[in-house]
Symmetry: C2
Subunit: 415 residues, 2 copies
């Protein structure tokens, strides 16, 4: 994970945005100093000399983790920071979809304000890269997208946000949605989203053809919510893989949830995983305690990257959630019964290295040349950080200290 660990070269004069952090412990390494220059890691080593003019931070022997990565959330839906929402919604997926649209129409829910509040809370807890789905439908049009694009701009270089244009109410089943998705990509969405082509759209071939036509036209990555269970989900997944292959979208497609991979027989699952590995298709999971989910170990063994995400946080769908990827790593660890220290490192990987690789966030990690995103926590090991979810001693984003003790520094991030 670390390169140039034992160099003690240091510059003579500090450049722009120079920061030296003394006495921190990267995972499985001894304490060292970290030199950051112009937003990137410039050196790791023992007793680095302080360049003239460089700010110095005492790391206090804290554990140094890379910046945390949220792979799947819905910033636009959240009611984070608002009074408690009493959930009286029915049990079906469609109950939740319809309830949310009615709630929005009645409440004047503001996706811009809400997404900014939650993005800031994520940053305060160490998340420096984040993929969020944004609802696009024929009722709200692109209003949510506009709000979240403003949030993306405001978070600027401190928190890299990927915006997924997501047809929450279906694609074909609500005519006009495909055009809206296409416009969303033109207006600045980063990723094209999809949703259950059988269970919601009712016509998997036509639905996926429509979706992939947009991806082909816009040359964009794709991230599909696939809740469909068992054989139905595996069938849809096969259709997705066919189109990924046919259109040359290798390394650009993600499947969110993919419950079916936890439900079909192992032989069928392994055949799908082999195709996914070959096509660079990643799995994004919340590791939901209430569901059968794709096997982390089977995915890793097959070469399929597994990314962790919270899904919605405190919205009309779910009352649960914290903008804390260490808590999500703990839930991943609990779901996959990861108890050994080396196993818990895999849980953290789902919200750090593997997540950055799987989602295409560049220059992530604790290595010279990477973006200087990091989290300092008082913990002896990665495993302790995951299970204890300690307060964030400080958060670095693009080389700047942006939060201490879970609170954003006002000079770092404007409200």
């Amino acid at each position: 994970m670390l390169t140039d660990m034992h160099t003690n070269r240091s510059p003579q004069v500090a450049g722009q945005d120079c920061l030296l952090i003394r006495n921190v412990r990267p995972p499985e390494a001894d304490a060292l100093d970290v030199w950051i220059q112009a937003g990137r890691f410039a050196a790791f080593g023992r007793d680095l000399a302080v360049p003239t003019g460089c700010a110095v931070e005492d790391g206090g022997d804290a554990l140094l983790l890379p910046g945390l990565v949220e792979g799947h959330t819905h910033l636009d839906k959240t009611m984070w920071g608002l009074p408690w929402y009493r959930n009286e919604v029915g049990p079906l997926l469609t109950d939740k979809i319809h309830n949310e649209r009615s709630f929005r129409a009645a409440s004047g829910h503001d996706a811009g304000t809400q997404s900014l509040g939650l993005a800031r809370a994520f940053l305060a807890h160490g998340t420096t890269r984040l993929r969020t789905h944004v609802d696009i439908d024929t009722q709200g049009g692109l209003a949510h997208l506009d709000g979240v694009l403003r949030t993306r701009a405001m978070m600027g270089p401190l928190q890299e946000i990927q915006v997924v244009a997501f047809p929450q109410s279906g694609l074909l089943c609500r005519p006009g949605t495909a055009d809206l998705l296409d416009r969303a990509m033109v207006q600045g969405a980063d990723v094209l989203g999809g949703l259950d082509p059988c269970a919601i759209d009712g016509d998997p071939v036509a639905s996926l053809d429509a979706l992939f036509a947009i991806a082909d036209r816009r040359g964009c990555p794709v991230d599909i919510h696939l809740h469909e269970p068992g054989a139905m989900g595996a069938f849809s997944l096969g259709l997705i893989l066919d189109r990924t292959q046919a259109l040359g979208l290798r390394g650009k497609v993600a499947i969110s949830h993919a419950f079916c991979l936890g439900e079909v027989p192992d032989r069928e699952r392994d055949a799908l995983l082999a195709r996914m590995a070959d096509l660079g298709v990643v799995v994004i999971t919340t590791a939901a305690p209430s569901r059968v989910v794709p096997s982390l170990m089977a995915c890793r063994a097959a070469g399929v990257t597994v990314v962790g995400g919270n899904d919605g946080i405190r919205d009309t769908w779910t009352p649960y959630g914290l903008p804390d990827m260490l808590e999500r790593a703990m839930l991943i660890g609990l779901k996959y019964n990861l108890r050994r220290d080396d196993e818990l490192a895999l849980a953290l990987d789902c919200v750090t290295g593997a997540a950055a690789r799987g989602l295409g966030f560049a220059d992530h990690g604790l290595a010279v040349g990477c973006r200087a995103d990091a989290v300092l926590v008082d913990a002896r090991t990665v495993a302790e950080a995951v299970v204890a979810r300690p307060p964030r001693r400080c958060v670095l984003a693009a080389g700047r200290i942006v939060a201490r003790g879970g609170v954003l520094l006002s000079q770092a991030v404007a409200a």
Copy 2:
């Protein structure tokens, strides 16, 4: 849940240990005052007059929850408060059992000190009743029991602790253990524990006969760890129910984990649940995210009480866990996909009312005459308290304020 809610009678002169808490909100009720006298709730009502000499606490419009109940933990095993234990243990149940015995022999682990530290942490987070299993085996003898009985004595009236004499290494398979269990009951254990009569002891009939002979002789309740899966577990459970019935132990038997109830076909499960309901046998669950667990709704529908518990916290078995029953309620909610406010009240019930009923903790609840155990949190509703797990504004135990902000008050509980 509340009785005498709207009385505003109040005493003229305060008796011993009088406390008036102003302006708190019981679940689903308007703000009111609570009068506590001699360790018990004496009245709930609006604008109660302050008796002369009575202490007054401003509740600050906090949510008033009953004292939290831990149904299944292992205070004696914990390394809470000690340096991080690097877990490198193998995957089998027997790997964990053998590793723990070797670790103890080498480390000089002190069950008295460790159990006291964790019991205090539980109290600081609002747990005023707690059932703990204590390892009894032919290597350690009754040393762990001695330590935990000291902890029980030191926690005194503030935290009611039930001690289960638990044959962690097996009963028949380690000769001498049955005698130790019998001695443990004589020395002050409250409940007789058991463990997988097929998978660990290898002779379910002989194992359960030996166990129930002690229960019959000592007239004590029984709590059996049943990890055995599917048909094997259901077979053992049937044998347990036979003996519960034959010995007239109605209302005195609990099954911890009972994974088999989540695994056998519904018809077989329902037949077992019907017998359990008839015999007053309760289920105690951690709602483990990694396992299939008994259905909360099927148990409730059948009339079987479901109690929540953490199991071990930060020990050689597991790195996970916090002494916080609101976090356990959240994990129960996540496991059973409880999203509506009325559903989340069921998750809290597993660690409050249902737990107290199922385990036989008397006088629990927010009602006149009950032991004045309570937790004040800043939350609008029970659902918010469960998902947000807010800091405990204050904890009352037997009518005394024993903790504020998650920290025990030194005058309330000696270290």
